[in-house]
């Protein structure tokens, strides 16, 4: 059959057909190949996935109208108190807001950055988390609620610090690099960092990806019991996984005795890992929340075991949507660093003046708004560095204030949405308060596509 397609525009003169970009090898793919051919190494960087994946922006709230009535914003109370980890009789973490600060190590972050995060969290009544490098006395002092991580590397792990912790988090995996270990490149392994980690200064440190003393769910149960014994059953035990086989991992963590399960989606950040991990491993946070919440419900543990979700949380809307999908709290890392000044073009000089630091970004071959050079230790705003000169660009007092401002602001966004949904507590948000804008998000979050009652994949899930 002869096609009668209409011709759009004018035909180009013969010999002037433009050369189109090869969809398989666009200029950025070409440049990456050229870079690897030149350097002989794969790209390593910080922060999280850059590519667009279905996320909380693909959901909207069905706020109250006639069938449900809203609460008055700023007038009627909306609770944000969050309890984590009381399942086995431990003293649960009592948080004033459902937003916690994720694990980030001293080493990856400067001491000033850790200090600022700790003081901000204390000011707003939430917890911070150590990281792959042990607990520093400074962060214990700054954070009134501190979660102590048990990581595969065990760098600087000390039973005395364990006894000082308010909760313990066994890190099985991380959203940025599930199945992979952390990295700290030599330029950040200064004497103090090296000493804390029992490593020679200046080496390219590759953290273990697997715990040295246990493997598998049955061992994990014993490991959790060991940590309970060492802390006299006083503190909650979290288990953190990168979002891959979420339903299995959540159920296995619960069976092993976790009080809290932390699920970190693929948008979750890191201070340094292979770009190939950041972009190509794990599933987005959006489906991870729903899978985890459903797994907890299926084993009848939705009330006893709390779900903390992380990976790409930016706003009160993201927090509210995560809570509505079944999270008890969220954890933020990259967003907290942005609140500290990450990717800003200016920083504060030691004398208090705001100074332009865009030359620092240029030296790294990047610019404010695009930087993910945490791994280099040359952070222009003093956050992910061990260089005293750069670190002095971050004033811990101002940083603490900025992060506290941000945490309060997004908490107010959460309560504004919750009130509009008629909820007197942010934890009353539920999946029925949401609709999806895309078929993908509807399928991943198991929510109806807006304007329909269609939940793609629901039949096969049942």
């Amino acid at each position: 059959m002869v096609s009668e397609e209409p011709v759009v525009g004018q035909p180009l003169p013969v010999g002037t057909a433009p050369e189109v970009v090869n969809a398989s090898f666009p200029p950025e793919a070409m440049a990456r190949i050229h870079d690897m051919a030149e350097s002989g190494i794969y790209p390593i960087r910080g922060l999280g996935a850059r590519r667009k994946v279905p996320d909380f922006d693909d959901l909207v709230f069905l706020t109250a109208s006639i069938s449900r009535y809203p609460l008055e914003g700023y007038r009627e109370r909306c609770g944000t108190r969050t309890l984590l980890g009381g399942r086995h009789g431990a003293r649960p973490l009592e948080l004033d807001i459902p937003i916690t600060i994720a694990g980030m190590s001293f080493g990856a972050l400067s001491a000033s950055a850790k200090d600022a995060l700790g003081r901000a969290a204390t000011a707003v009544g939430t917890s911070t988390t150590t990281g792959d490098g042990g607990m520093t006395p400074e962060e214990r002092k700054a954070s009134s609620l501190l979660v102590y991580q048990v990581l595969p590397s065990r760098y600087g792990f000390d039973p005395a610090d364990l006894r000082q912790a308010d909760a313990v988090e066994i890190v099985v995996g991380q959203g940025a690099k599930p199945g992979g270990g952390g990295m700290l490149l030599g330029q950040k392994v200064n004497d103090r960092v090296a000493q804390m980690r029992t490593l020679p200064p200046g080496i390219d440190q590759r953290s273990a990806s697997r715990h040295p003393d246990w493997v598998g769910p049955d061992d994990l149960r014993i490991k959790i019991e060991e940590l309970r014994e060492a802390t006299e059953w006083r503190v909650p035990i979290y288990v953190k996984v990168g979002a891959t086989r979420v339903a299995y991992d959540v159920k296995l963590a619960v069976a092993a005795g976790a009080d809290v399960v932390v699920v970190d989606g693929m948008q979750g950040g890191t201070a340094a890992t292979q770009d190939v991990f950041i972009e190509h491993t794990g599933i987005p946070t959006l489906p991870a929340v729903r899978l985890a919440a459903r797994a907890l419900a299926e084993v009848g543990m939705a009330e006893q075991v709390q779900l903390v979700v992380s990976g790409g949380i930016r706003s009160g809307a993201d927090v509210a949507k995560a809570l509505a999908l079944g999270a008890d709290a969220v954890s933020i890392g990259v967003a907290a660093l942005l609140a500290l000044g990450c990717n800003r073009s200016s920083a504060r000089a030691p004398d208090g003046r705001q100074v332009d630091v865009s030359a620092g970004y240029r030296a790294l071959g990047t610019s404010p708004g695009r930087c993910a050079h945490c791994h280099t230790g040359q952070c222009p705003v003093g956050i992910t560095t061990q260089d005293p000169g750069l670190e002095s660009r971050l004033d811990p007092d101002l940083g603490a204030k900025a992060v506290a401002n941000y945490l309060r602001a997004i908490t107010m966004e959460v309560t504004a949405l919750a009130r509009a949904c008629g909820k007197s507590d942010v934890h009353h948000l539920e999946p029925e308060d949401l609709a999806a804008l895309t078929v993908e998000a509807a399928a991943m979050a198991q929510l109806p596509l807006a304007g329909t009652d269609w939940i793609p994949g629901l039949q096969t899930q049942e």
């Binding site: 792990f157 980690r197 029992t198 490593l199 080496i203 040295p212 003393d213 246990w214 490991k223």
Partner: protein, 230 residues
């Protein structure tokens, strides 16, 4: 001296009592029957005698950063990760140890009179692990600091991805792991091993005749040319 029977008490109750022993005192744990997590997290300098086999993590998370800690003896065999993350004090195992003995231990001495299975001394961070008999494959995997002394033979992949820990082997080595290399003994090594032999009583080991294995330090920095080196 306290006598705590695992037939009458839970692990939690046993450990609760052990943790509250005043420094210098001692206790005996009877009928351990392979229970996991016995004598975990003990910081004080006490003497603990476990009369039989113990399970995972026995003596784990013990001792303090200054190298002091309890003196624990296990009369029988032990499960995975005896003395994991030990900070100080000592653990002596009369029988053999399962996998990951002394995992990530930072101080103190773990002495195994029998054999130790796979990945003994994995991630070691400053402690001393002495095994009178043989050790399994991947012993000393990613060990960062400290000493591993093996009286018998070592399995495949010894010292794989070693950092600055040092391994001495009295018997044969099936194979070395990635970036591990053997090095000439110097007087300090012989003296070090001699002291370990004295401390452990593993006097079948001849300090002048051990093989010393250390990191070749070729993989300390990233390079694509290392592809295939692991």
């Amino acid at each position: 001296m306290d006598v705590l029977s695992c037939d009458a008490l839970s692990v939690r109750e046993v450990n609760h009592t052990l943790r509250r022993l005043p420094p210098g005192s001692s206790a005996v744990v009877t009928a351990p029957r392979g229970r996991h997590n016995l004598a975990v997290g003990l910081a004080q300098e006490t003497d603990i005698d476990i009369e039989g086999n113990a399970g995972y993590f026995v003596g784990g998370l013990g001792g303090r950063g200054d190298g002091t800690g309890p003196t624990i003896t296990v009369g029988g065999f032990v499960g995975w990760s005896v003395g994991e993350n030990l900070m100080g004090g000592s653990i002596r195992v009369r029988g053999s140890a399962s996998q990951s003995a002394g995992s990530s231990a930072r101080g103190g001495l773990i002495a195994v009179e029998g054999d130790a299975s796979l990945r003994a001394g994995i991630s070691l961070k400053g402690a001393t692990l002495a095994v009178a008999g043989d050790v399994g494959a991947m012993t000393g995997f990613m060990a960062q600091s400290g000493t591993i002394l093996v009286g018998g033979n070592a399995g495949h992949g010894l010292g794989d991805s070693l950092y600055e820990a040092v391994i001495y082997v009295g018997g044969t080595i099936a194979s070395l792991g990635a970036d591990a290399t053997s090095e000439e003994l110097v007087d300090d090594d012989v003296l070090h091993v001699k002291r370990l032999v004295e401390a452990t009583g593993f006097d079948h080991i001849d300090p002048g005749q051990v093989t010393k294995v250390v990191s070749a330090r070729n993989l300390y920095h990233f390079s694509a040319e290392h592809h295939g080196a692991y």
